[in-house]
């Protein structure tokens, strides 16, 4: 059975989404063992493969270089940072830029604000999106279809269009300049995305599962909580990562809705430009510190993330 094999290959990452064509799906184990006798688009001839590897190496260097240059620059001395002509590697490796950046007032607090805002927003998105997506996919009502359409249309709204009215709403609710206000704003971005992702995950859960549970005397809510949720826990993790990243990297709402107290790091990075003249060294150091945790997270959880990104887009 082809489908069964797919599920097994997809295995670890997302057992609940058998239709997801993530990377390892198409390459069967037997095919790999034979090696030479490749199928479809995979190149077989040795010369062709060497050429392709060279191309790939060139692409990776071009693609990876900008961020490496940011890292190298962050280790230069503040003067070398803006030397003319610039050098690629630091003439002298130092942590001065890091000390300057992290020692500046407001920077450590902005990290706490970023973490706080992202966590609140992630939890809020999941709490709202999981039941909603379940209601949409399991019962297929007219209201559900209208709702998922409306949620998708929400995704098209330019943040700049609702940012200002939203900011004044928060102010009149007494939430001005708080992580709560900003995380609510971030949830307007991540909630539609979360509903969309979770719908795809629920779609893959066989209906018999809760039917069996309800026959055994579970209520519908009980079946959702005790039977369905554990099955889609991988999908919930993917959705959580996306909601977290959406908030962690967001800038426009943060710029409009925060002042001193709840400023997140992206706003602080941008402010380096104006407040303190052009302090490139500190900016690169802070940008590196802010980006590296999420890059590492990506590398650790890459299979789940790939599954989440391609879901929906490639379905059917």
């Amino acid at each position: 059975m082809r489908t069964a094999e797919r599920v097994r290959h997809d295995g670890g990452a997302t057992p609940m989404a058998p239709g997801t064509p993530s990377a390892p799906v198409a390459t069967g184990k037997e095919r790999m063992r034979r090696g030479v006798n490749r199928e479809g688009l995979e190149a077989g001839r040795r010369g062709t493969r060497t050429l392709l590897w060279v191309l790939l190496a060139a692409a990776m260097v071009l693609y990876g270089f900008p961020f490496l240059y940011l890292l190298f620059t962050s280790f230069k001395t503040p003067i070398d940072t803006i030397a003319v002509p610039p050098t690629i590697l630091p003439r002298e490796w130092t942590l001065e830029n890091y000390a300057n950046a992290l020692g500046r007032s407001g920077v450590p607090a902005s990290f706490i604000n970023s973490i706080q805002t992202a966590i609140i927003s992630t939890v809020l998105s999941l709490v709202l999106a999981v039941p909603a997506a379940y209601g949409i996919t399991r019962y297929k009502t007219l209201s559900g279809r209208i709702f998922i359409m409306a949620a998708l249309v929400t995704r098209m709204v330019p943040p700049v269009a609702i940012g200002i009215p939203l900011a004044s709403m928060m102010a009149s609710m007494g939430l001005a300049d708080t992580p709560i206000a900003l995380s609510i704003a971030h949830t307007t971005i991540s909630l539609p995305l979360s509903i969309w992702l979770m719908s795809s995950f629920f779609e893959a859960v066989p209906k018999d599962l809760e039917e069996a549970a309800t026959v055994d005397g579970c209520s519908r809510l009980g079946a959702l909580w005790r039977v369905v949720i554990p099955v889609v826990s991988g999908g919930i993790a993917v959705t959580a990562i996306f909601a977290f990243l959406a908030s962690w990297n967001e800038f426009l709402f943060a710029l409009l809705m925060t002042a001193i107290r709840s400023q997140t790091t992206p706003v602080v990075i941008a402010n380096f430009q104006t407040q303190f003249g052009l302090d490139w060294g500190s900016m690169t150091a802070l940008a590196a510190v802010y980006s590296i945790p999420v890059i590492l997270l990506t590398l650790l959880l890459q299979r789940r993330i790939v599954a989440g990104m391609t879901l929906g887009a490639v379905k059917g």
């Binding site: 064509p21 900008p66 709204v157 941008a270």
Partner: protein
């Protein structure tokens, strides 16, 4: 006492629906309402109904029509380039097969970088005087002077320079989606075409691209909408300058609201911008996306 399935579904959806109604629909309503007023930017300032005056002013201003065209050009450039690059990378990864898996992961890393950081990074590479790109091109003998091309200071090219970080950030997304699509093409089909003597270009244009059409459509729509809303990368690189040459719609609305303190006019621009986006979204969703339908 069991409520009907329909009620139960509604009960599950209500919290999310209420949230979106309060925090998205209501601000949108405020935006549209504000567009008919002349509003003083001072808190508690005057508010005077002016009918369609703000819309007339928007269409009459060169800043608005200019920003509209620039947004369109920016979106086309970003989406076209990242589609071409993303497809190239996806084909490369597919042709290399499983052995390229680790590089596929590494290739994804820009997706996790904040747009503000990406904008900063590329500004640092392209900036006059100590920008590395000009220097490297000079050292390679391509430019006679490192500052010959003012990537971010020449109004003629700045709109394309500010698009670079956006392309760099999201080519990975294109690649990922197209790669997944490519894995769904049955190998037999390619083999059969090869046996029939199809060469690489024919294979690409007659078989692969037509089979990928639905995936391509979705990827282009998703990215097109995102690119049309670009804000962070442009703000940090040029703040819309020089001489508004890189001022797209998001930036113009932001500046009209914050810098020029004209909420009424900014709301009218925001409303028009939103209507244009919704029109595109509506056409896209109804023709290709069709979420919630069984496949």
């Amino acid at each position: 006492m069991r409520i009907s399935d329909r009620r139960f579904a509604l009960f599950l959806m209500t919290p999310a629906a209420l949230f979106l109604a309060v925090f998205v629909a209501f601000p949108l309503f405020r935006l549209v309402a504000d567009s008919f007023f002349k509003i003083s930017p001072i808190a508690g300032g005057s508010r005077e109904f002016v009918g369609l005056d703000n819309y007339v002013r928007a269409f009459a201003s060169e800043a608005f029509t200019g920003a509209g065209w620039r947004t369109l050009a920016y979106t086309l450039v970003v989406v076209t380039l990242e589609f071409a690059l993303g497809l190239g990378m996806a084909l490369l990864f597919t042709m290399l097969g499983k052995s390229s898996q680790i590089w596929r992961t590494v290739f994804m890393y820009p997706l996790m970088i904040a747009p503000i950081v990406a904008g900063l990074l590329w500004k640092f590479l392209m900036i006059d005087n100590f920008g590395l790109i000009g220097t490297l091109l000079h050292q390679a003998g391509i430019l006679s002077d490192p500052n010959q091309i003012g990537w971010l200071s020449d109004p003629g090219i700045v709109l394309y320079s500010v698009a670079v970080p956006d392309i760099w950030l999201t080519t990975s997304f294109m690649c990922l989606v197209l790669f997944a699509g490519l894995q769904n093409i049955p190998g037999d089909l390619i083999e059969a075409a090869r046996l029939d003597g199809a060469r690489a270009p024919a294979l690409l244009f007659r078989i692969i691209l037509p089979l990928l059409r639905p995936v391509i459509a979705v990827a282009l729509v998703v990215r097109g909408i995102d690119a049309a809303r670009a804000f962070d990368t442009i703000l940090i690189q040029t703040n819309g300058g020089p001489q508004s040459a890189s001022e797209t719609m998001s930036l113009l609305i932001y500046r009209t609201m914050i810098r020029f303190g004209d909420p009424g006019l900014a709301s009218a621009m925001g409303t028009l911008y939103l209507l244009a986006m919704l029109a595109v979204a509506f056409v896209a969703v109804s023709t290709i996306w069709r979420p919630g339908k069984d496949n």
